[in-house]
Subunit: 291 residues, 2 copies
């Protein structure tokens, strides 16, 4: 059993980006610049945005953090996005989700120009990805591809089973893995809450992406020897043995499943760190596209 | 074995649209209006556009056919599309494909406003479909859904196997069938040229959509008893027993497979006629959206 180590891979991606950014500077080219919008004081959102800003600094990107109070109007937010859309120096724009209830997430996402949509959430970004046009892949599934590529996991002709069909992970990764590229060219089965014979299907899988959000759902008797498992789940469960009072669980029962795997992501430290690396990749590409 | 009869279903869809259009007229509401652009003198394109225009007349829609010579410039075509985009009376715009080589298909498709993109080919239409937002579904896969719905085929929890991953059929139908709606909620497996164990996978299928473009590819020993088969293939093969010198073959070896099926589409007369019915549905919806 080998770990698909998100910390190592995200560091490798960031090291590469850092070198490429230095090269751009040496050649007098534009340095990538990410604008992040944070609304209110949600603790998790604060943490996520802080690590995105920190990652920008690590790889040599510029970043601009824009904060709004919880009660910002939708109009003011949209106005700011319009400004950022028109600002040549800004390559990528992200709005940290979730938004306060009085603001339409969809409207906000669709305001961002697709060419600056480094989160890959705009319908046009999704459509372009599906159709095989150049596009920003959404960060979590893109991070999974970067991880599979780093470990040179063979995907062509493999049977990949994706558990979950969310817009953020399950749906896009199922599409990406079946595209005619690497990583990809898998035979892909999408499973969800209405799937009857999940165990039988998982037992056929060479690759499983678990993205359903039920802690320790996938058990050892549901997978075959040598499977590659990517665990996207990240749920806090009460754990009185921990000082914090909780522990983080993936969708895979790691302890019993890992021994059967050829490769498996740990939780935490698997897919999680890859998301930001993928965001950095998209921001770099958005900048490059202007050359 | 029962036929999924595209002629019957498309007629039923058109009858319903005709009644709904009459009702709109009685209520003083706008009548749907489709603009079709035809370039050059390709025989097949002429035939397709003619039946679209004829279908509009049948259901009481207005239609405008705009013809360009083979040597029309991309600029002139785009200018016309811009005009149609801005014309309030036009609800849906379609450009009959393929286009002459000097014109970028992608550019033309992306010029059409997504709200008038009744062919559902614009990346934004595709993205909205994937994300579960209101969207025009591309005509052929939408026609398949209309057919499954007409025959009240149970899809929830069924294993659907889609053979082919084209942007026009395989990819979108695989997404639609796994969405949380009816027809949908299938466990969906997407197969393609790199799939190793296609037979084994097809044998598990409750529903098969064959969209790979190889005549009579699917044989009886590849399907289980009671399967529902949708055959999207339509290939001309030389047939000296026919007066025309050719016959039309689907991707399914109908003669040997049909006896095992609970439902199967014939070719021709299955999916084919549904495509235009789906286009009429989209045009009606585009008009309704303006109410």
């Amino acid at each position: 059993m080998n770990l698909l180590d998100g910390k190592i891979v995200s560091q490798a991606v960031k090291d590469r980006l850092k070198a490429q950014t230095e090269e751009r500077m040496l050649n007098g080219k534009k340095v990538p610049h990410l604008a992040a919008i944070l609304i209110g004081n949600n603790g998790a959102s604060e943490t996520y945005v802080a690590s995105k800003v920190k990652s920008c600094a690590e790889v040599g990107f510029k970043s601009t953090l824009i904060r709004f109070d919880e009660d910002v109007t939708e109009q003011n937010l949209i106005f700011k996005l319009t400004e950022l859309n028109e600002d040549f120096d800004i390559d990528g724009i992200l709005v940290q989700l979730p938004l306060p209830k009085h603001i339409s997430e969809q409207k906000v996402i669709e305001t961002i120009y697709p060419e600056k949509d480094v989160d890959g959430f705009h319908p046009e970004s999704v459509g372009r990805m599906v159709q095989g046009l150049p596009a920003y892949y959404p960060a979590t599934p893109y991070g999974i591809l970067l991880m599979l590529a780093h470990y040179k996991i063979e995907t062509k002709g493999k049977h990949a089973v994706v558990i979950g069909r969310s817009n953020i992970v399950g749906r896009p990764i199922s599409i990406m893995l079946s595209k005619n590229e690497y990583p990809g060219n898998c035979t892909v089965t999408v499973c969800h809450s209405h799937t009857h014979n999940l165990k039988e299907i998982c037992l056929q899988a060479d690759i499983i992406v678990a993205a359903l959000g039920i802690p320790e759902f996938l058990k050892a008797d549901m997978v075959k020897e040598g499977v590659v498992i990517v665990d996207v789940g990240i749920t806090r469960v009460i754990d009185e043995t921990k000082k914090s009072g909780f522990s983080i669980k993936g969708d895979v029962d790691f302890k019993e499943v890992a021994p059967k795997c050829s490769f498996i992501t740990p939780v935490p430290g698997g897919v999680g760190p890859m998301t930001i690396a993928a965001l950095m990749m998209n921001t770099f590409k958005a900048c490059e596209a202007k050359d």
